[in-house]
């Protein structure tokens, strides 16, 4: 789901074989995939047994599964963020939405102990379906709010979503009454730490949402519309696209993904922390999207790239933890990665390189 808008790359190549090579080399997924492979190879060399997978109690265990499982919330957030960034927008309220939806779900479910036939059991305060729907509903409302601010009131996206970023955590704390809400209801844990057919359930959630989005974007005109808005919003509107509706839709989708990520996170840690759930997740999501080759200037986007980007970030975190390096170094490494990726993406840098090689 990528197009090249770079005229410099349209130059004629020599033989067909060369052309094929050039196409492969210029494939937008090449760089993120290469980075991930490099990281994995590095891990395989540094960490003995990195690729070992074993089956315990019918579940698949291993570093790779662990990375995938832990990357799930980030992958969801990155999925939504990709489409927002594709329309030249940005959504920095993702972390706050994660906290909000988690707080709603955890507060509604909670869990009270009931002695049933002499066996203590925990019962949800609200039916789980209702609680999940409410959490996602709140996330959708957040998205609607962001979308209306951007599309109708025409605030800059970073400012529009900043409002929810500031207020969202406050609202989440309001819901949880400033406490960390612990969930005791067993079935809810399945979402974030359950296993289905040997694989973590969260992976199925990510895979389903990813496939759905990919189908929507590739098999309908939606992807084209999003690209059109990202490349030139005015031209897209003049061409008859309902850009405002499209932008609202994209923000709603992003918040829905964030809300889903919030459910996964609260279910995984069995509690909702309004202060720290999804803290800085928006930054990681933006980083994942950038790493995946999506242009921050809008128009050029890659859903698969963002997934790879999220995996790169999680693998990096995993590597740093397993090597026994203080986890705080992670931030420095991430910062350097952002600098390198952004600078290497910029056309000024490419021109500089061209001058050097010429």
């Amino acid at each position: 789901m990528t197009t090249r808008a770079d005229p410099a790359l349209g130059k004629p190549s020599g033989t067909p074989a060369q052309a094929l090579g050039a196409v492969l080399l210029q494939h937008p997924l090449l760089r993120p995939a290469a980075a991930l492979t490099l990281l994995l190879v590095l891990d395989a060399m540094l960490l003995p047994g990195f690729f070992r997978l074993e089956i315990k109690d019918g579940h698949l265990y291993g570093a790779l599964v662990d990375i995938l499982n832990r990357a799930a919330p980030l992958m969801l957030a990155a999925l939504g963020m990709t489409l927002v960034i594709a329309t030249r927008g940005i959504d920095i309220s993702v972390g706050a939405v994660v906290a909000l939806s988690g707080a709603v779900a955890a507060t509604l479910i909670g869990g009270t102990m009931v002695i049933h036939e002499g066996v203590p059991a925990y019962v949800a305060n609200t039916p789980m379906g209702v609680a999940l729907a409410a959490a996602i509903g709140v996330a959708l409302l957040c998205g609607l709010w962001n979308g209306v601010l951007v599309a109708a009131i025409r605030l800059q996206p970073i400012v529009a979503t900043l409002i929810l970023m500031v207020a969202g955590r406050g609202l989440a704390q309001l819901i949880t009454d400033g406490q960390i809400v612990t969930v005791y209801y067993q079935p809810y844990f399945f979402l974030g730490s359950g296993y289905l057919l040997g694989l973590p359930f969260s992976l199925y959630v990510v895979a389903a949402l990813f496939t759905l989005t990919l189908l929507l974007v590739k098999k309908t005109a939606l992807g084209l519309f999003i690209q059109a808005v990202g490349i030139n919003p005015v031209a897209a509107r003049l061409a008859g696209l309902r850009t405002a509706t499209l932008i609202v839709l994209v923000y709603v989708f992003c918040s829905a993904c964030a809300g889903m990520a919030g459910l996964l996170i609260t279910s995984n840690i069995k509690s909702a922390d309004a202060n720290n759930a999804g803290l800085l997740l928006e930054l990681d999501a933006i980083l994942a999207v950038t790493l995946g080759g999506t242009s921050l200037a809008g128009g050029r986007f890659s859903l698969a790239g963002s997934m790879i980007g999220a995996l790169i970030i999680q693998t990096l975190t995993y590597t740093i933890y397993s090597l026994g390096v203080p986890p705080e170094v992670n931030m420095v490494v991430k910062a350097i990665v952002v600098f390198v990726v952004c600078i290497s993406q910029s056309s000024e840098f490419r021109q500089l390189l061209k001058k050097r090689t010429a």
Binding site: I286, T290, L296, I343, S346
Partner: protein, 329 residues
Amino acid sequence: MSALAGSARGFSSVPWFTSLVTVVLLVAMLVAGGAAYPGFLSLQVGFNLLIDNAYLLVVAIGMGFVILSGGIDLSVGSVLALSTMLTAWLLQTAHWHPAAAILAVLVLGALFGGAMGLIIHLFKLQPFIVTLAGMFLARGLCYLISTESITIDQPFFVTVSQTQVPFMKGFLSPGALIALVVLLLAVWVAHFTAFGRAVYAVGCNEQSAAMMGLNVGATRIGVYALSGLCAALGGVLFSFYMLSGYGLHGQGLELDAIAAVVIGGTLLTGGYGYIAGALSGVLVLGAIQTLIAFDGTLSSWWTRIVIGGLLFAFCVVQRVMGGLRGGRA
């Protein structure tokens, strides 16, 4: 502004109007507070607003320049944290002289900001992504120094933190005085120097600024260096205030600083607004916190919700006013 002909346009012009609204809001909040809670409307409560938010004022001033130039700096919170950390480490572990430590921190802060400005300018990157990376970098560097909080017991810092400077029947802290001096300096720089004019010009329209022969690159780098310097100075004031260096200091401060600047009447698209608005913005934020503290029944998270609401109101007002003025994007 010529008196009559300009007054109609002048009144509805964005920076003027929103700045005025903020001052009215501040006065209204103080009066309402005074009516509701005995003892609220004392001079010292007002001074305490300044004392408790001196570091925020300094950071918001730096942010004001960046926003006036049409950019944004998300790294200020972590640069502040890094400065407290570095100050504490230089004093406690390296046993530097306080003056040398403060000077080193300020220079490093300016260099850090300047480097980000250089990257933004050289590679034409969006400010928010570069300063985002800067935010990660500074926060990470904090933890590289130490993951624990470092307590400062250096005599000079302890003395400064305990000094009360008598001022108009009340007292101010040295930090608050420094912040006020910085504010005066910043107003002078913004409105009476070539650099200040260049910042406004670049914020209004970068292309025409460049065509006028202004050095856009130098201005931009200067603006981010200034913001870094202000964040570092904010860090020094913060370590006077807290007497410690910690990597978790100033979390979310960039949002408060942006909110203060916006509430102070500066347009986020750049080019319009007053540096002095940072003072009213910071005081409004401080007054909200004080009101909530005085109330006692409201929990602290209401602060964030109210700030979010104010931010929303001001952005929308700016947008509507901006639209009336002929639609700047």
